[in-house]
């Protein structure tokens, strides 16, 4: 399962407002779920 998200950080927004530069887009890093942890029982 792949997820995406959209975000412009406050710092980037500040840059946009001050005219120093404009990013092509917000920097996106999507992610997938981590593995589940399966539990086994040790045989004493």
């Amino acid at each position: 399962m792949k997820k995406t998200t959209n975000y412009v950080s406050p710092e980037v927004q500040l840059l946009q407002m001050t005219g120093m530069g404009i990013l092509c887009a917000s920097q996106l890093f999507d992610s997938e779920q981590n593995e589940s942890i399966i539990e086994n029982t040790f045989n004493w």
């Binding site: 530069g21 981590n34 593995e35 086994n40």
Partner: protein, 459 residues
């Protein structure tokens, strides 16, 4: 300095853009751009499979911190909110690939594209701290994969201060592992530096672990055997639990070892009884007149358990005050005194366990031991009358007489004198006995403390 680089980089990046954009939807993949970036990471949508782990979620908590590394730099970032998904803001340089490691307290380094992560040998048992996970991306996807194998243990007591875990000889459990990461982002250990063959857990706060379940992380692998050692806050009770069965420590799996300190669970128990403090209630504190000698059973509470000592002293022929007692003198302080030939201090018997080792530390009993040498052995019995000779004593195998040092200084501790016993039986009292074969025997020994080890008898 970092900030300056960042601002310039953003400006340069902006020059390449065709138009300003606000937050977008369904963006096309972007080339990495230097500057403040947002990592969004999911850390366990369905956190666990087993309900036992449901309280130990692998969800992000606000403030969770990850390390982010790239060729030539690294930084950390914190989760902005709790949940299955969280945002991480960080200033990063342009790079072809990024690595992320959780938690940030894990030591990390990156060299020629190879990530090295420290799996600590000293841990605190908290799932959130031991569950090291890594992610690698050449684009912008952070897919966290677990690095370690986990061990789960449960404590029923509230006074365990330290837990040590070991595998077989030469088997590494922790260290700085350099990883190979396959196409699916799954890490495997290709080499280990600063390898440790044991993992030690101590509580993150306070002196002892509260009863409950705890976790440790280890390098994945198959252990030939396993061994736990649990030490109480006092240090006077050490529980060992060992198995010769192999243990499969698999990456991203938790191996549940169950409750280690349940009654009867320990395979070994080592107890230390110290007689250098004030005498405990019920213990005799002085010699008794020869014609009034009376054996006693007394109790020594240790870490919540009452242990019984059987003080046994058959009549002596020299008509002097004798006995076994927790005596004090201004010169030599407190110590357990065995006063008189064939006087016996019965070591506690524990049901289901046999006595296998006795270590005794000596303290001066008085002026008399300046020249005389007390001799102490471990006897299988405390006879009702004095043995006719030392040769007729029933000593335990390995409990033969050791000659103790004479003329100890006031604050000097003699020993340790170690008796490795064999052929003992479970739930049976064995006795420390004094006798002497020298020409001028003192017949008195002072014991500062004793350490006794028991082994569980197979059912």
């Amino acid at each position: 300095m970092k900030k300056i680089v960042y601002i310039l980089s953003v400006a340069l990046a902006a020059a390449a853009c065709s138009k300003p954009e606000s937050p977008v939807t369904n963006p096309e993949p972007q080339e990495p751009v230097t500057g403040k970036v947002e990592f969004t990471a999911v850390f366990g949508e369905a956190p666990v499979v087993k309900s036992e782990l449901s309280g130990e979620s692998v969800l992000w908590k606000a403030g969770d911190e990850i390390s982010i590394l790239w060729d030539g730099g690294n930084t950390t970032a914190q989760a902005d909110a709790a949940g299955a998904q969280a945002n991480f803001s960080a200033s990063v340089d342009d790079a072809s690939e990024y690595f992320a490691v959780y938690p940030s307290k894990a030591s990390v380094s990156l060299s020629k594209g190879a990530l090295t992560v420290g799996i600590p040998a000293e841990q605190n048992g908290a799932f959130e701290d031991v569950n090291i996970a890594i992610a690698k991306t050449t684009e912008r996807s952070l897919v966290f994969k677990n690095l370690c194998a986990l061990g789960k243990i449960t404590l029923s007591r509230n006074d365990i201060a330290k837990i040590e875990f070991k595998g077989g000889e030469g088997q590494s459990l922790a260290g700085d592992v350099t990883l190979s990461i396959n196409g699916e982002g799954v890490p495997s250990v290709i080499s280990t530096a600063s390898a440790a063959e044991s993992i030690v857990l101590t509580p993150a706060s306070g002196d002892a672990f509260a009863a409950g379940s705890y976790y440790f992380a280890a390098i994945p692998g198959t252990l030939n055997k396993v061994e736990f050692t649990l030490t109480t806050v006092s240090g006077n009770t050490i529980l060992g639990k060992a198995s010769a069965n192999p243990a499969e420590l698999l990456r991203s799996k938790a191996l549940n070892f169950g409750t280690l300190d349940a009654e009867g669970a320990a395979t070994t128990m080592t107890l230390t009884f110290d007689f250098q403090g004030d005498a405990l209630e019920g213990w005799p504190t002085a010699a008794q007149a020869a014609n009034t000698l009376e054996s006693k059973t007394v109790t020594y509470p240790l870490d919540g358990t009452d242990y019984e000592f059987k003080l046994h002293f058959p009549q002596t022929s020299d008509t002097k005050p004798r006995g076994v007692y927790w005596g004090y003198s201004d010169s030599y302080g407190n110590r357990l005194l065995l006063n008189g030939k064939f006087k016996y201090a019965g070591i506690p018997a524990i049901s289901g366990y046999k006595l296998v080792k006795v270590i005794l530390w000596q303290k001066r009993q008085g002026n008399d031991d300046k020249e005389d040498v007390p001799a102490v052995a471990i006897s299988a019995e405390a006879p009702a009358t004095n043995p006719s000779s030392t040769a007729s004593m029933n000593l335990v195998s390995g409990g033969d007489r050791l000659t103790w040092k004479a003329g100890l200084g006031k604050n000097e501790i003699g020993g340790p004198y170690t008796y490795n016993l064999s052929g003992t039986e479970e739930g049976t009292n064995y006795y420390i006995v004094i006798y002497n074969v020298s020409k001028t025997p003192s017949y008195v020994a002072g014991i500062a403390k004793m350490e006794v080890t028991y082994e569980k008898v197979s059912e």
